[in-house]
């Protein structure tokens, strides 16, 4: 019944549009001013339509673009780590010690599929497992710093402790050549952390950058983590510095898993 009413209306609408187009055609063929005006309007309309179409297409391509950027990011991070390693070796050689540090990191891009942020023991689940090359005792980083560390791995997923976990600490350095201490989550907020156990003799200024020290085996050295803020002296022996992290934990999706290829060898040696 309803289609009986809709069809004649559609036909009327089609004929209305056809007659209006015919009128516009006649108008544009017989008047220069109207021709220019119609042409300009048509171009404006086409531009708006194509612009909107491109925006919609771009929106639906975002997921693919993000994955591509994640892969590119991981490749760049790998290159950066290798370059830093080469620079350090060159620096060590220039000191004339004759010693070489032979450690490298495998970097695998991944996506966070689940993440908790509401407790004191937060975790992440990544969409990559051992079939993708992920191993336990690997670190998780982004271009903004450290995110967590892998604790358990299945075929296609990995479970990780978030940096926002009460039991997690990261070896961090104050500046590129300053004192080394432990960076822990401050227990609240998305960007707050505390750098502990910095010996008093190491001077710093609020605003100095905090880097990974490279002592933990899990993370490459010299990854910028955040900036130092206020400090207080603990037991008259060490400084405790508040840190504002670069990484906003409320906006994590694409990460890189880093695994130290020399981890097992060093662990075995230590034991």
């Amino acid at each position: 019944m309803r289609s009986r009413k809709v069809l004649p209306r559609l036909i009327s609408l089609a004929i209305f549009i056809a007659l209006e187009i015919a009128s516009l055609q006649l108008l544009s063929h017989n008047a220069q001013l109207q021709r220019i005006w119609l042409s300009r309007s048509a171009h404006g309309f086409m531009g708006a339509v194509w612009g909107s179409t491109q925006r919609v297409q771009g929106f639906f391509r975002l997921s693919k673009t993000n994955r591509e950027l994640s892969l590119e990011n991981a490749a760049l991070l790998k290159e950066l780590t290798e370059t830093r390693e080469a620079l350090r070796r060159a620096h060590t050689d220039s000191l004339g010690t004759g010693l070489r540090q032979e450690s490298g990191f495998v970097i695998i891009p991944a996506e966070v599929v689940k993440m908790s942020r509401g407790s004191q023991h937060n975790y992440l689940i990544l969409n990559r497992g051992y079939e993708d090359g992920i191993q336990e005792k690997s670190g998780i980083i982004t271009r903004n710093g450290v995110v967590g560390m892998i604790d358990a791995v299945s075929a296609h997923h990995a479970y990780a402790f978030s940096f926002q976990h009460a039991d997690i600490s990261i070896s961090a350095r104050l500046g590129l050549e300053g004192g080394t201490g432990l960076l822990v989550w401050d227990g609240s907020g998305n960007r707050g952390a505390i750098l502990k156990e910095i010996p008093l003799q190491y001077k710093y200024n609020p605003g100095d950058t905090i880097y990974t020290s490279g002592h933990s085996l899990l993370f490459p050295p010299d990854i910028p983590l955040g900036v130092a803020g206020e400090s207080r002296i603990i037991n008259g022996a060490t400084n405790e510095i508040s840190v504002t992290l670069f990484q906003d934990f409320s906006a994590i999706r694409y990460v890189s898993v880093v695994h130290n290829t020399a981890f097992d060898e060093i662990e075995e040696f230590v034991q």
Partner: protein
């Protein structure tokens, strides 16, 4: 009035419109048109598609035979025909369609007929002035032209509406 009577008056008014378009160009601020009232008063049983085709042909004939731009009256008049049923339904109610009865001042009141006329003339003039100006005329000029033409055309339409929609029809 029989249908043939209506169409005879319609053709006479079309000729009158031709004369108005050709000779009644006293000022660029005012254009007088009878075309919207002619379309609005077409028999209520007439299908919208046929009304649009007749409106297109009427507009085109005025454009061809007067000194106007070819397609301009047709462009502005077809939307009046397309919106005719909606205007009648809005102003006079659905009963006219159920009874298949044409409206008139005597049966439906002067006020309602006036509002229907104003709506159809305003729709016609809005498109006509917009397309005629082609984006080159200032808004104030278009607004004054629209207002003055609306008043003049509505008054003239009120004079002929009784010819097109008499009580006896």
């Amino acid at each position: 009035m029989k249908k043939s009577g209506f169409w005879l008056i319609y053709i006479i008014l079309l000729v009158a419109q031709l004369l108005l378009s050709t000779y009644a160009n006293f000022t660029p601020y005012v254009m007088v048109t009878l075309l919207p009232v002619m379309v609005l008063c077409m028999p209520i049983r007439m299908h919208t598609i046929l009304a649009m085709v007749i409106a297109f042909a009427s507009g085109l004939s005025v454009d061809l035979l007067s000194e106007g731009l070819l397609g301009l009256n047709a462009l502005a008049l077809v939307p009046v025909a397309f919106a005719r049923n909606a205007i009648i339904r809005l102003i006079f109610g659905r009963e006219l369609f159920a009874r298949e009865e044409d409206f008139s001042i005597h049966r439906n009141g002067f006020g309602k007929v006036l509002v229907a006329l104003v709506l159809s003339v305003a729709l016609f003039l809005a498109i006509y002035i917009w397309a005629d100006g082609a984006g080159t005329r200032p808004l104030l000029f278009n607004a004054i032209r629209f207002g003055a033409s609306l008043v003049a055309s509505t008054l003239l339409s009120l004079l002929v509406v009784n010819l097109l929609a008499p009580d006896s029809r």
